[in-house]
């Protein structure tokens, strides 16, 4: 079973590329059971968005771009 440290690796990876079906599934399962990791996921997503607020002219980057 996947633990938090590995879950954070997938959360981070999701900001940079599309996850495989298996990666998505195992991450989703872990997030459903772990409130700390749900917060971490929100915060990684927030940090991914800082660029928009630094440079309003840039389009929001898709992970696979």
């Amino acid at each position: 079973m996947m633990m938090c440290k590995e879950a954070t690796r997938l959360m981070s990876l999701r900001q940079d590329r599309s996850l495989s079906f298996q990666e998505k599934f195992t991450l989703r399962l872990h997030l459903a059971m772990c409130s700390a990791c749900r917060e971490c996921d929100r915060q990684f997503t927030l940090l991914h968005g800082v660029g928009r607020h630094y440079d309003p002219e840039q389009d929001d980057d898709e992970p696979s771009a």
């Binding site: 633990m3 938090c4 440290k5 590995e6 954070t8 690796r9 981070s12 990876l13 900001q15 940079d16 590329r17 700390a36 990791c37 917060e39 971490c40 929100r42 915060q43 990684f44 997503t45 927030l46 940090l47 991914h48 968005g49 800082v50 660029g51 607020h53 630094y54 440079d55 309003p56 002219e57 840039q58 389009d59 980057d61 696979s64 771009a65």
Partner: protein
Amino acid sequence: MSAIEKNDSFAGRSGYETWVFGILKYKILDTMRAQKRQGRWQPLADENDDEAIDRQFQQNGRWQQEARPQSWGEPEAAFETERFWQVFDACMIALPDSAARIFSLRELMGLSTEEICRELGIKENNCWVMLHRARLRLRACIERGWLEGDAS
């Protein structure tokens, strides 16, 4: 700084920021490439970095109690506060150089990991590992500063 000297040749604030960002992006890439050539930077060799991150987790991979992520409140609202940006800036300064640079290239300047790795001549997997570590470290620092009022 060369960007500031040339500022009267550019009309419009957001256009200027875009232009400065372009210059910064190439300066960061050049610095990292030079360090790599001179052997002063190896992508995954930062030992202090590993320790700081390992300390956030227990042996079994679960969060350490004192490192468990807390709620930051309404996410988008954070960006509206000056406090958030003060904490963010302080934490970016506190990050190890290579972590700060790769985070900046990816999240502030919007380069894809494919582009970053191509420019730096490293494997994309290394980029992902470095970004994971940078995000864990930055997140932890920001939470300390944001919730406890202490950005150190």
